[in-house]
Amino acid sequence: MFHRANLRNNSKNGRSQVGQNRNSKKKPVAKLTLITEDNESFTVCKKVAEMSMFFKNMLQDTEGIPAPFIVPNVSGYDLKKIIEYCSYHCLDTDCPNDNDSLRSRRDRKIGHWDETFVRNIINKDGDPVIDNLVGLTKAAYFLDIPGLIWLMTKSIANTIDPKPIAEIREIFNVPVPSEREEEILQR
């Protein structure tokens, strides 16, 4: 419980969460060093990393902690957010992290912490929001974190849900179809 409260605090100040996480541990636990494609390095404990099926399988296969692992296809920003998500949810039993239980509860609402988490992505220094959402979704898909994939896809769906067609085209960079194509689509 102490650890969990600590995590809550960490997620509030967000940034230096990973480092504090390490310090708060009493005994040394298995750690994993990750280096992203843009040369940012993160150290996470094994339990956090195992939220990702990708790392879980990898750790099972290698039977031990490998040397600093280079994560391809994932940017530093994305990995930071992913670690933030994982270190909160690795202790959260309410939030299912496997595909079957996620599928069976389709009408699940986004939790309070998750909502704040998504809103923080949105607020990141004025950049186009959806790009970050989509980028994070792609990273989550690559690292295979079902809970995060669910959260991200739900958020994207919520974003495009009330928007008119023209705006969706603009957001997702879909070329406006020619008149003839549009006629076909209208049918």
Partner: protein
């Protein structure tokens, strides 16, 4: 963001996502959003038409006949058996049915009002047992046309072009489904619960210009695509004679079905009940339409 004139032209440049992720995203959308998403672009329309999405929607909304598709899939042996309708068609039929149910306005009759009691007797064939309340709801007037029309996929509503949900959606559906496998959802006459002798599409055609799709004999029937609202009501006098225009209008008014909306003298219910006599014209006398002073007057000419 559009207010910044200095912004570079491609405002957004999200990285491409794999197909599975798009399916997850579309899986969170509901029916209207999914249809809208299909209009965004060609790729989007292919994605939004994915059968697994519609299968999930069918499951969620409890559309009838899902297990029939599964069963048909098991027994499919090439050309001899007709292909089952797609999940998309199934959901569309379900959606139209739901809209109908929501739109239907039951007529009300009162025991204290002899005129409406008379109309009630005309609909039911007998006076219903009197319960405590003096107001009774008349059941939707059933019709065989409606059943058949449900079966062939809302041809009438598409032709009338009057519905918010029907026209475009069914238009697409007819293009995608009906032409691909020859009339997949036509109901066979033998299988119909209703006596089809009471049905005369020629009469409808002649005065409304609505292209009713004819049923093709021998095609297998998919009963679940029928409108259950109308089929559920048994009417003792239904098999007598053909349908008049007044009965079509009455049916439209009470059931929410759009059959009569395309008729050129269709007016909303409140008006038609209060309309002076003769709004349907004397030339319809042959069909038995009498005066329209009230509800009873409207019902007087209806032959079931």
């Amino acid at each position: 963001m559009s207010v910044q004139p200095t912004a570079s032209p491609p405002l957004h440049n999200p990285p491409p996502l794999p197909f599975e992720v798009w399916m997850e995203i579309f899986g969170h959308l509901d029916f209207p959003s999914l249809v809208r998403a299909a209009k965004v672009g060609r790729t989007w329309s292919v994605w939004a038409g994915e059968e697994s999405l519609w299968k999930n929607l069918c499951r969620q909304h409890g559309a009838e006949g899902v297990e029939t598709i599964a069963a048909a899939g098991e027994h499919a042996d090439g050309e001899s058996t007709p292909r089952p309708p797609t999940y998309k068609a199934l959901f569309a039929a379900h959606h139209i049915r739901e809209c109908e149910r929501r739109r239907s306005k039951p007529l009300w009759a009162s025991y204290d009002d002899p005129a409406s009691l008379r109309s009630l007797m005309m609909l039911n064939g007998q006076a219903p047992p009197r319960f405590g309340a003096s107001i009774i709801c008349l059941p939707p007037v059933p019709c065989a046309q409606c059943e058949q029309e449900r079966g062939v996929g809302g041809a009438v509503s598409a032709a009338a072009g009057s519905s918010a949900h029907g026209g475009w959606f069914w238009g697409e559906q007819r293009g995608a489904g009906t032409s691909a496998h020859t009339s997949p959802v036509a109901l066979s006459a033998a299988d119909s619960m209703l006596p089809t002798s009471s049905l005369s599409p020629a009469t409808l055609d002649s005065f409304s210009g609505i292209p009713l799709l004819r049923q093709s004999p021998g095609t297998a029937s998919f009963n679940f695509l029928r409108a259950s609202t109308h089929a559920a009501v048994h009417h003792p006098r239904r098999s007598v004679g053909g349908f008049s225009r007044a009965s079509v209008i009455l049916h439209t008014l009470t059931s929410g079905c759009e059959l009569g909306v395309g008729l050129k003298d269709f007016v909303p219910r409140v008006q038609i009940i209060r309309a002076p006599s003769g709004i349907l014209g004397d030339r319809e006398r042959g069909d038995g339409v009498a005066g329209l002073e009230g509800l009873a007057g409207l019902l007087e000419g209806v032959r079931f």
